[in-house]
Each structure stands twice: as structure tokens, then as C-alpha cells.
């Protein structure tokens, strides 16, 4: 009894103790829930914005869609640069059960090089499983056909079509057109966000100069992806704006004529419509096929081009620096008349050489026996050097410089091709600045015949000739003819840009010079008389032969004894038709030796291509 009483007492005490603990437990439970709720409030209310941002960043990503590049046409709509589908064989590892078996199976269908397989296996380790990995680039049509037929046997194997730049005319006009290539690391640093996703960029020529127009505007796609990066849906789609098409002033026919006429010689031809500044042909030979450059030319092939002594990669038409030689004579002659130093009737006796006072150096004429008494017309027609030595001395270097500067010699013409050279129009100041030497009178003489320090590019010569034909109207030579937006709507033509006027003192002087130049071609004694025979139109021209190698006093220029690359350059500038000039041409044939018989026929062919309609 007593025992049970104790037990009962204990029981009550026990219960009381236990119940108090239950209440404490209840309080603790509520406190713990309070902590959890506080944590939730902190995360879901106070930090909500922060985590919303993180969550957005997790799932939404922006993919850029590069715009298709604009096409390039010639003035008549012939495609010079286009985008062709290029086929790439790709594998999606996620969808392939046995990669080895698939690779072996594919090798039975088409040829896959070891290096391709090696590169693929390397990429396989790095990439995510759902991302396609290229196995072989630039499949040809047979390969595409063979793979397409058997594609059902290879799940996870895809043929992807990409647009790749292609130049259908290959090397034709390559020095005008330029080419695109893969963006390199240096370029990446300078490109803005518009180039996200773009793989190629214009490297030279028109492709580079009109890069902004041709490229277009990048598009983007806002996509939702899951934790493994797989695209689930497109939230926003801003399609890219394709690049604008560019029409060039080039005429494929004239260009082909120019390149064909140069044949396998080294040289350049530039043809300009003097009325508008439109460049009808811009050839630099030898050229090269730009297509291998698009996806990276193989090293060996590149070295072959770069190391060739013919320098096919060098754009002679805008970068080449040549002594203009006798092609400068029309400008010096015109200066003589405009400054009233000489006029049509002035005769100068040519005995084959010229001497300065107190100097026994003989400045020789190309004709050692001399031309006899020469008028300016005759001196142009027969390219008498002595006449121009005398005239140059009378004019003085300052006036020669001032007059020729008006034709923009020694300055870039501003043609829309990158990398143009400015050439050199020598003056006292120029010599002091560059050579740190005073000007010598003898230098004035050789400047008068376009030798000495004078250098000009073919584009400059063509531009100056065009200016001469238009009585001093200077229009910037250009290749850009029109742009066309991506919808293929109407063309927006480039306005000819007038750079200035050469002031005319007497129009007669210009007429006189034009006629003198006409005699070069259309008279029995003209230096380019051969091209005047049977010409359906009249033209004006001037031959030039520029010394590459300095011949010593009293030494005879011996063609046979000179190495090929030391022989004289042959030059010819001209415009036609005589009464209504529509084309001005400058031709330079390196080591061509004779302006009249080598350079002039090339100009004739180019003019025929433009002026004679079949």
C-alpha cells in the first residue's frame, strides 16, 4: 500500500514534470518554426530581387545571330562576291550510342582524314554532349549525296549548311575586290558587339573598305535553357539585318580585258570614267584566287604566293610607286604654257643632250642623235627629253611643283581601297624635310621628264589623266557604285565627289596639250602610232619609259646586258574618245621597256572593251 502510494505520488510528480517539459517542447517548436519563417522572409521578401536576378541569369541567355554578308556586283549586276552554302559534317555525341562505331561507319562512306578525327576526339572531351561537333568541313557534292542517302544509319550525324563567301570570278579583280577571312585575335579586340557571332571580316580591298555596309546588324535570340544548357524555347527573336549589297563601278568586261592584256606580265591598269570618277577597271597582275583565303589558306600555298618574286599579293594599282617618266610631260608642258614660259610656236633645238651652265654633266635625250628643232607639240608627240629639260629649267622646281600639285600628285587620290600610297611630288621643302639636303638645278631637269624623286601610283596617273581630259575637273576615283539594302529594293547610287578644279588660265593651252597627245597616237611620228592605226575612235595619249636602273654617263642602255627586273618600266596614259572623253587609262608594265609598243596596246584593248560595243 505504502509502496503504491509512493508510486502514485511519483506518478503525479512524474506527470507534472513531463507535462512541463511538453510545454517547453511546444515553445521550442514554435521558436524553431519562427526561425524558419524568419529565414524564408529573408530569402523570399528581403532578398527577393537579388535571387530573381540570379534565377533569370540562370535560365535566360542571349544568342547572337550573325547577319548574312552583303553581295558584291559589278556595274552590270554580275556577281563578284556571293555567299554559298558550305556543308559541314557534324556529330551530336548525345544522340550517338557508340561514337567509335559511328566514326568507323562514316569512314566507309566518305574519306575522313586522321587529323580530322583527332581534332574531333579532342573536341568531344571538351564540349557538352548535346552540342554538335564538326567532323569534316567543306564536303563536296558527292560526299553530301553519299551521306544523305545513308543518314538514317547514323543517328546523331548531321550535315550542316553554312553560308561561306565565294568569289565566282576567282582572281579577276581580286585587287579591287579584296577578300574576307576569319577574324583574328587582333581584330577581335577592336570589334564592337555588332560582331558577336560573326566569323569573317573584310581583309583587303572593297571587302574591307565597305565592311560596315556589307556586314549588316547582328540579331539576337533570347532563349531559355535548362541546367545542362539545352535550348528549350525562344523568348525573344530579333532577326539580324543582312548586310547591304554593293555594286561596283567595275565592268567585268573591261576588267577582264585589262587583265587579259597584261597577260603574264607584272603591271597594273587603271581605267576611270573621267566624267564621274568611276573606276571601270583596276587590275594588278599577277593576281591570285581569293577563295582559299576565306577559311584560311594552307601555309604552303600562302608561302608560295608571298615569296614569289612576281609579288601577286601586292596591289600595284594603288600601292605601286613608279617613276611616271614621260607621262609627266603633258603636265609639265601645260605648266609651261599656263605660266607663259612657252607657247605653241616656241621652238627648242634638241641635239641629243642638254647641259647646265658650269656643269659638264650631259643630260641625255632618249634619242642620242637628237630631235632637231622641237615645238611643244612635237616634243610631246616624240617625247623629246631635251625640250623638257629646257622647259623645266625655265619653269623652276617651285612652279613645276605648284602646278602638278593641282593634279593631286603626291597625294592620295582617295579611291575607296585601303592602303593607297601617296606617291612623291618632289619640292624644295620635301627634299629638305626628307633628305635634309638643298635642291640642285639638275634635279629640276630630271623632274621635268618625270624621273628623279617623282613617284606615282597607277591610280594617281589615271586620275591625273582624267583630270587633264576634263579641263581640270577633279572627281574622286571610286569603285563604289551603289548600295542596295537587303530586301533587294532599288539602288542608292553614290554621288560623284568633286574634289576641286584646276584653275584654267587659257583654255587654248589645254586644247593644245590634248591635240599634242592626240598626235602621240594618231600621227606617223607619234610614239604610240601603232595603236592609232585602225582605231575606230580617236584618242589622246602619252607614252613613258621609266628608268629603274641608273645608267652611267655615256653608257648605253643595253637591253641584253640587263637583268629582267632592272629593265625600264613601260607606261602609257590616255583618254578617249578624243572629243568626248569617256575613259582615261593608265598602264604600267614593269620592266616592259617600251611605253609605245608594250603599254599602249594594253590601253587600247581596255578602251576597246569599254568603247566598242560588239
Amino acid at each position: 500500500m505504502q509502496h503504491s502510494q509512493v508510486k502514485l505520488k511519483d506518478h503525479i510528480r512524474e506527470t507534472r514534470l513531463f507535462n512541463s517539459r511538453v510545454i517547453i517542447a511546444g515553445v521550442v517548436v514554435v521558436l524553431l518554426l519562427g526561425v524558419l519563417i524568419a529565414r524564408m522572409v529573408y530569402l523570399q521578401v528581403l532578398s527577393h530581387d537579388h535571387y530573381t536576378t540570379l534565377s533569370q541569369n540562370n535560365r535566360v541567355s542571349i544568342i547572337s545571330v550573325p547577319p548574312p554578308r552583303g553581295l558584291i556586283f559589278d556595274r552590270n549586276g554580275n556577281v563578284l562576291a556571293e555567299n554559298l552554302p558550305s556543308f559541314t559534317l557534324e556529330l551530336i555525341p548525345e544522340k550517338i550510342k557508340d561514337v567509335d562505331a559511328t566514326l568507323a561507319g562514316l569512314q566507309d562512306v566518305i574519306e575522313i582524314s586522321e587529323s580530322n578525327i583527332k581534332r574531333f576526339r579532342k573536341a568531344l572531351k571538351r564540349n557538352r554532349a548535346f552540342k554538335s561537333i564538326p567532323l569534316k568541313f567543306r564536303l563536296d557534292e558527292t560526299e553530301v549525296a553519299r551521306l544523305s542517302v545513308r543518314q538514317h544509319q547514323f543517328p546523331g550525324v548531321d550535315i550542316k549548311a553554312e553560308l561561306m563567301r565565294h568569289y565566282p570570278y576567282a582572281s579577276l579583280g581580286v585587287h579591287a575586290l579584296g577578300y574576307v577571312g576569319r577574324i583574328n585575335e587582333k581584330e577581335i579586340k577592336e570589334l564592337d558587339t555588332n560582331y558577336v557571332g560573326t566569323t569573317h571580316i573584310g581583309k583587303t580591298g572593297i571587302e574591307r573598305y565597305y565592311e560596315d555596309e556589307l556586314h549588316g546588324t547582328v540579331g539576337y535570340r533570347k532563349i531559355e535553357s535548362n541546367a545542362r544548357g539545352r535550348v528549350l524555347r525562344v523568348l525573344e527573336d530579333q532577326p539580324p539585318v543582312p548586310g547591304q549589297n554593293i555594286y561596283l563601278t567595275l565592268d567585268v568586261k573591261v576588267q577582264a580585258a585589262a587583265e587579259g592584256a597584261l597577260e603574264n606580265r607584272r603591271g597594273a591598269v587603271v581605267a576611270i570614267d573621267p566624267r564621274t570618277g568611276e573606276v571601270l577597271a583596276l587590275a594588278s597582275m599577277p593576281g591570285f584566287d581569293p577563295n582559299p583565303f576565306v577559311n584560311g589558306i594552307e601555309y604552303k600555298a600562302y608561302r608560295e604566293l608571298a615569296d614569289s618574286t612576281d609579288r601577286p599579293l601586292f596591289n600595284r594599282a594603288v600601292k605601286g610607286r613608279y617613276p611616271p617618266g614621260s607621262t609627266m610631260k603633258p603636265f609639265v608642258g601645260l605648266a609651261g604654257m599656263e605660266y607663259d614660259v612657252v607657247h605653241g610656236g616656241t621652238k627648242i633645238a634638241c641635239k641629243g643632250w642638254f647641259q647646265l651652265k658650269n656643269d659638264d654633266h650631259k643630260y641625255r635625250d632618249w634619242k642620242r642623235t637628237g630631235h632637231g628643232d622641237m615645238t611643244l607639240l612635237g616634243a610631246i608627240r616624240e617625247s623629246c627629253d631635251v625640250y623638257f629639260y629646257d622647259l623645266a629649267l625655265e619653269l623652276g622646281i617651285d612652279r613645276i611643283y605648284a602646278f602638278n600639285k593641282q593634279f593631286d600628285f603626291g597625294m592620295r587620290s582617295g579611291i575607296d581601297i585601303p592602303g593607297e600610297t601617296s606617291g612623291i611630288l618632289p619640292s624644295r621643302q620635301w627634299k629638305r624635310k626628307v633628305k635634309h639636303l638643298a635642291w640642285y638645278p639638275g634635279e629640276t631637269l630630271i623632274t621635268g621628264i618625270g624621273q628623279g624623286f617623282n613617284v606615282a601610283s597607277p591610280i594617281q596617273l589615271a586620275y591625273a589623266t582624267a583630270t587633264l581630259s576634263t579641263y581640270g575637273l577633279k572627281i574622286r576615283p571610286h569603285l563604289g557604285y551603289a548600295v542596295q539594302n537587303s530586301e533587294g529594293e532599288e539602288l542608292q547610287y553614290f554621288e560623284p565627289e568633286i574634289l576641286g578644279l584646276v584653275p584654267i588660265i587659257k583654255k587654248n593651252n589645254w586644247d593644245y596639250m590634248h591635240h599634242s597627245m592626240k598626235r602621240v597616237v594618231h600621227s606617223p611620228r607619234g610614239t604610240a602610232r601603232k595603236i592609232g592605226i585602225n582605231s575606230p575612235y580617236k584618242m589622246a595619249g602619252k607614252t613613258g619609259t621609266a628608268q629603274v636602273y641608273g645608267i652611267k654617263q655615256d653608257e648605253k642602255y643595253d637591253k641584253e646586258g640587263l637583268e629582267d627586273h632592272l629593265r625600264d618600266h613601260a607606261l602609257f596614259v590616255s583618254f578617249a574618245p578624243f572629243d568626248d572623253p569617256q575613259i582615261a587609262v593608265a598602264v604600267i608594265v614593269e620592266n616592259g621597256e617600251s611605253g609605245g609598243s608594250v603599254a599602249a596596246p594594253i590601253a587600247r584593248k581596255v578602251m576597246d572593251a569599254h568603247l566598242v560595243r560588239p
Binding site: F18, R21, I37, Q44, V45, H48, S55
Partner: protein, 379 residues
Amino acid sequence: MARSRLSAGLENTNQKQNGGFLSDLHIDWPLMTGLIALSIFGLVVLYSASGENWTTVSRQMIWMSIAFLVMIFVAQIPPHHIQFWTPWVFGFGVLLLVAVLLFGEVGKGAQRWLNLGLFRVQPSEIMKFACPMMVAWYMAEKSLPPSTSRILIALIILAIPVALIAKQPDLGTSILVASAGIFVLLFTGISWFLIGGFGVLLAAAAPVVWFYYMHDYQRQRVLTFLNPESDPLGSGYHIIQSKIAIGSGGLYGKGWLNGTQSQLDFLPERSTDFIFAVFSEEFGLVGVLVLLSLYLYIVVRGLIIAYEAQSTFARLLAGSLVLTFMVYIVVNIGMVSGLLPVVGVPLPLVSYGGTSMVTLMIAFGMLMSIQTHRKLLTS
């Protein structure tokens, strides 16, 4: 003896019955209502968390049905029978744990499963209820509060299964099992002085545990917990992504099936341990408050059952089971929200998984048994 008590119990219930099979059963309807509501809630969340996978949901429904049946079955066993069988259950459990260590199957770097031919069992699950049962059984033998020596013996009894489970290694379960046993001791009314001393002892033991008993991955988890951003793609990924899910849910959530973190697979283990993150992303703070209210309701009901329980064993067991249930909730939500290190504890009745649910429902079965087998004090 046992037989007569059983028949007496049956007579007792027979007297109450007024026809109908359901009313014959020992079921605590307030608790049952809460559990059913929570289960439905859980299935709705799981449907979304599984990526609208009906197979997962129906499998969970089958397990749920089994778990509820087991609970109802357990609820029919009177508390004194449970008390009688306690040492046997505990002993059997320890044997199985030893067997796991010797012949267990390895999965995910831990040895937790025992293949019994027909099915696999996870013996540590049994300990979640066997441990509090055993400690309660031992404590109920003598009057309370217990003497210090009895407390020590109880701790040793507890230490055996806890050590065996920790060795598997399964930190989450060993914490749950240990806390279940300790809750019994707290309910016995041991002095606060002792509790405090025990706490100090635990703190002192922590470094020892860190250096000698914890596995590298467990240490890594704790380190990651302290600074998840140190390893955002590795072990910190879980915590970072689940915090983003919860935080971006905001007040009202992104809507059912619309949680981007969960639906787009940014959340790992989203249908099991991290299901709470899915839930809070889609239902927001409002949803969280509703869920926590539901849990609170169940816990309070459990505490009432413990409060009203008549035998020492029953009240100790009931109190401990309820608090263990609470530990599940706090540890799971605490870890998912970045308050606690990542330990594998499911969110009760919401996380996908059958075994732990059955264990949990056995515990609720015992609570129901304790509540429904009370004899009116007046009779």
C-alpha cells in the same frame, strides 16, 4: 497475462463501437486529417518537382497507401504490447545494422542497404523509432527523473546504433536517431544542469568528431555550408541553386509547375531532399506559411497526445516521436534554405521516397495507438 490484456483491450473497444468498420479501428482522426492533408499537398508538389512525371507520383501514392496501412495496423497494437516488444525490436534492429556493416550493399558511397532476397531494407530506418522506444522502455522501468547512472546507461544504449549508422556513413539518419533518443531523456525531466553539461560535452567532442570520425565528403559539406560560394559548381551548387529557387519565389511564388529553377533542372535532387525549394519557388512565402501551419498542427496534435498519454513509456515515446518529426522539418528546411549543412533528411510526406515514409508512419501509428488506447481515468 499478455493475452488477457489484449482481450480486455478488445472488449474495451468493442464497447465503444456503434457499427461500421472504420469506427472499430483505433484511429486518431485529428491527426489522420492532418496527415491526409499533408500527403495530398505533398503529391501536388511532387507532381511538379518530378517534372510532371505520373510514374513517380503514382509510385509515391502506392508507397503512401502502404505507409498509411502500416500506420493503421500499428495503431491497433496497444501501447503496452509495443512496450513489451521494444527490446526485441531494438535488438533485431542492432543485429540488422551489424549485418549491414558485414554484408550490406554499397550505394552512392555508403553501405546502407541489406538485400533480403525479395526486397531491400535500410535497417537504420528501423532505428528511427526503435531507439526512442528502447530508451523510453528503459526509462519507464524506474521512477523518474532518472539517476545519473541510468542516464549514462541510456546514452550507451543509444550510442550503439548511432555509432553503427554513422559508420555506414549516414550522418542525417544518425543525427535523427540520436536526437530521438535524447528527446526521451529530456522528457524524463533530467535537470537542466545535466542538459547544459551534456551540451558542453558535445561542443568539446565536436573537434574530435571532425578530425577522427567524419568522412571527407561530410567535412566538405560543412565547409561548403559555411561558404557555399567557394565552390559554386561543385558541392556549393546545391545550396546556391536552392537559395535562388526559394528567393526568386517571392511572396506568392511563380505558380505551380512554373518554377524555372526546378523545371529547368537547375535544382539538384528536386523531388527528394530539395523538394522544399521547388515548393517555395512555386508557391512563395504564402505557400510556405500554409505548409508550416500544417506541420505545426500535426506537431501540436502530437504534443497533445503525449500530454494526455497515460503510461510513462507511452508519453516518453510519444513526446520523442513528435519532436523527431519536428527535427525532420527543421533540418530539411534549414539545409535547403542554407541555415544548416546539407545532410540527407527528407521533408516528411512531401519528399519522394518510400522507406522513410513507412518509418515515419509507423511512428504516427504508435502515436495513434497511444491516443486511442487510453482508458478513461474515471472507469
